[in-house]
């Protein structure tokens, strides 16, 4: 075990630090969508131009050919500098990287990573939330070898802004469940695609409903094998759940510092209940940090990413929800007055135990696939 940087990693960190010193955004992150989305995309483009995106991805597809450790150094340094976190949706590209043909990888990944082309994930449906394998959107191969897609997707993050959607559709019989699902790349400008923003409880337009009405896309837009879409989703979801891939730690630590500032302003810096609550959040952050490092190290040592990320997701969820609860506790009754900036963040934290698989689904994965308990 050695948690220090290697000389190469230290050099990388130093280079990143000086780049950040020069390139930090001068304006603060906007509080509301869609301004926030455009701000994040602009920052992501700047990072990409600087060579700081997709560090662990192969160079030929727009990555930097480095390792998972460098990815975590990036997250740490962004946090240290108080910079916005790197866009949290790169996990979606993993499915193209893992299951795409050479042609697909060359066509889609550079635009994906540079955020010149925004992607969204068309997985969940009104009747297929946690039970994803019951999805009803259909894709039928016509005589010309094209897919004709019909159905509706829901809770599609970035659905209002996206250029492409990775759609999971039924290509098998209605009863085929996870064996009859295919992953298909659908340009959002294709005739028959329509979208409607879905306003979240905090007032943000983060999600959309996406409708597919006789949408025709070429057969070559199939990602992975026909009826092999389930495997594609598993790869994506495992990455979505990993704490290390999402630059959340830095964001959490910044929020805890802000909460500490609020506590100080309110004369609570020496209040026992407050110090205990802040200390409790801090132990969560540091535990999550070390746990992520362990996962990254496993990955750097060649262990594939799998079901164990459900543990990471639960830990991350718990941390975020405790953090925002603590914020409201520190604010006291004033939390429900005024602009409600913290309350908005609190509302968003309630989604943490839903997106990327609910906390209950994560526990199903842990008990079945990690503990091997028979149902």
């Amino acid at each position: 075990m050695d948690l220090r940087d290697t000389p190469e990693q230290a050099q990388f960190r130093a280079r990143l630090r000086s780049w950040l010193a020069e390139n930090m955004p001068s304006e603060a992150e906007p509080a509301t969508m869609p301004a926030r989305f455009h701000y994040i995309v602009a920052w992501q483009k700047k990072l990409y131009a600087g060579g700081w995106v997709a560090l662990s991805w192969p160079r030929e597809y727009g990555g930097q050919g480095l390792g998972p450790i460098e990815e975590s150094i990036l997250n740490q340094e962004l946090g240290r500098a108080g910079a916005p976190a790197a866009a949290s949706f790169t996990f979606l590209g993993r499915s193209v990287l893992t299951h795409g043909t050479e042609e697909q990888k060359r066509r889609y990944l550079p635009g994906f990573l540079s955020t010149e082309e925004i992607w969204c994930q068309g997985f969940s449906e009104p009747e297929a939330g946690s039970d994803l394998a019951s999805l009803r959107t259909t894709a039928v191969l016509d005589d010309n070898g094209n897919f004709v897609i019909n159905g509706q997707k829901l809770w599609t993050s970035r659905g209002s802004f996206a250029d492409f959607c990775l759609v999971l559709a039924r290509t098998g019989t209605p009863e085929s469940r996870h064996r009859g699902i295919s992953a298909i790349i659908v340009p959002m400008t294709t005739p028959g695609v329509s979208r409607r923003p879905l306003i979240m409880s905090n007032g943000d337009e983060e999600f959309a409903e996406v409708f597919f009405d006789d949408v025709v896309v070429p057969g070559e837009n199939l990602l992975g094998e026909l009826n092999g879409g389930w495997k594609v989703t598993q790869a994506t979801l495992a990455y979505e759940r990993g704490a290390a891939d999402l630059g959340y730690l830095a964001k959490y630590e910044r929020m805890l510092a802000e909460i500490s500032g609020e506590a100080t302003r309110r004369g609570l810096a020496d209040d026992a209940a407050t110090t205990e609550a802040v200390g409790r959040v801090l132990t969560h952050l540091e535990t999550l940090r070390l746990h992520s490092q362990r996962r990254l190290s496993d990955r750097a040592n060649g262990r594939p990413v799998g079901a164990e990320t459900s543990i990471d997701k639960l830990t991350m969820t718990h941390t975020e929800q405790l953090l925002l609860h603590t914020a409201l506790d520190v604010l006291g009754p004033s939390a429900v007055l005024g602009q409600g900036g913290w309350f908005k963040k609190y509302l968003y934290s309630r989604a943490a135990s839903i997106y990327g698989g609910t906390s209950q689904i994560q526990r199903n994965v842990i008990s079945g696939r990690l503990l091997g308990l028979k149902e």
Partner: protein
């Protein structure tokens, strides 16, 4: 950055696990519960023969010259097997305290370090809040004390072995306690207690407690997982019920995060500056203390009616979890100190700029 245990550490863990299976387990813990210490003493002799009891003592004294992380790896395995041995005290805390004394006054801990190498189990005197080196005037409790055992007492800045000790009741039969009967004219010197060597020793004790708590959690979780896989109600195994499966999953979340934080903090204590070491150890102990108590309670719940009886080992794990959570800095005190430090460092800066 590499988080993995070395091949040697993995072998050490494997050896400690195999040895624990031979020497300890529920039957031996039950004897301790009945105040029969013979099996525990035999186990300690076995650990000594395997070279594990002096792992932390430097080579020059004939010890193992190992790292804090090495000792933590062993401690996790021993705790999972409910070993009624003073490993945390005698193989970790006492050598750490003696090495701190040596740093203050060279040679002052040498004689006792050699006794540790010879396999003599020693208790450690802490204050009545179970803190080491303890507040002036409040020093009195002897951790891991049984009749006939001497306890290391830091008197001013020298190592003194105390034998004027009476047994006092405690909740954990695996780790009995005593109390000094005589006066302590010169408690630990304040500048020694606040010095870097003593702070590092205290961090070592805390991170070792975190490793022990991780083992305690693991032992209880394994018990519960195997129980629900075999016990049937309504004609099927308990593990087939989702309410049960979700509780079982929570145990693994706690266990894996405890492993991460305790091992990462042990490495930090071995390799980083004293401020980082102290912070990492406090965080690890606070996390593992909360997780162990919570998860052993969950495991007890999963064991159902049998879990709340004297004949189930569940209460032994629960007693152990509380004992280790309380010693060397209790959870609540650690959380408050950590929170206070963070607010002063980060919140005040925010306050100033606001």
């Amino acid at each position: 950055m590499d988080f993995s245990l070395t091949d040697e550490q993995q072998m050490l863990a494997g050896a400690a696990r195999a040895l624990s299976a031979d020497l300890f387990g529920e039957a031996v813990a039950r004897l301790a519960l009945a105040d029969d210490r013979a099996a525990g003493e035999k186990g300690w002799a076995g650990l000594h023969a395997a070279g594990l009891t002096a792992l932390l003592v430097p080579d020059e004294f004939g010890g193992g010259g190992g790292s804090v992380l090495d000792a933590c790896v062993v401690l996790t395995e021993l705790s999972a097997a409910l070993a009624p041995v003073p490993y945390l005290t005698s193989a970790v805390a006492v050598p750490a305290a003696l090495l701190a004394l040596n740093a203050a006054i060279p040679g002052s801990g040498d004689a006792l370090l050699r006794r540790v190498v010879d396999g003599e189990p020693l208790a450690l005197v802490v204050d009545d809040q179970l803190r080491w080196p303890g507040t002036v005037g409040a020093t009195s409790i002897c951790l891991d004390w049984v009749p006939g055992r001497a306890a290391l007492y830091v008197q001013d800045t020298s190592a003194v072995l105390r034998t004027d000790i009476d047994a006092v009741p405690g909740v954990d039969p695996l780790h009995p306690v005593g109390r000094l009967t005589g006066p302590s004219p010169l408690p630990p010197a304040a500048d020694f207690a606040a010095g870097e060597a003593a702070r590092r020793a205290r961090a070592t004790m805390r991170v070792a407690s975190a490793a022990a708590l991780t083992g305690c959690l693991e032992g209880a979780a394994r018990l519960a997982w195997s129980y629900i896989a075999t016990r049937e109600q309504y004609g099927r195994p308990l593990a087939s019920f989702q309410a049960i499966r979700h509780l079982a999953a929570d145990l693994l979340v706690d266990l894996e995060t405890c492993r991460s934080v305790s091992q990462g903090a042990a490495w930090t204590v071995d390799n980083e500056d004293v401020d980082s070491a102290e912070r990492a150890a406090a965080i690890a102990k606070a996390w593992c203390g909360q997780a162990a108590v919570r998860s052993v309670e969950t495991a007890t719940q999963l064991l159902g009616g049998i879990g709340v009886t004297w004949e189930s080992p569940a209460h032994l794990f629960l007693r152990n979890a509380h004992h280790f959570s309380a010693a060397y800095g209790d959870t609540r005190t650690l959380l408050r100190a950590l929170g206070s430090e963070f607010i002063n460092l980060r919140g005040k800066a925010r306050h100033g700029s606001a």
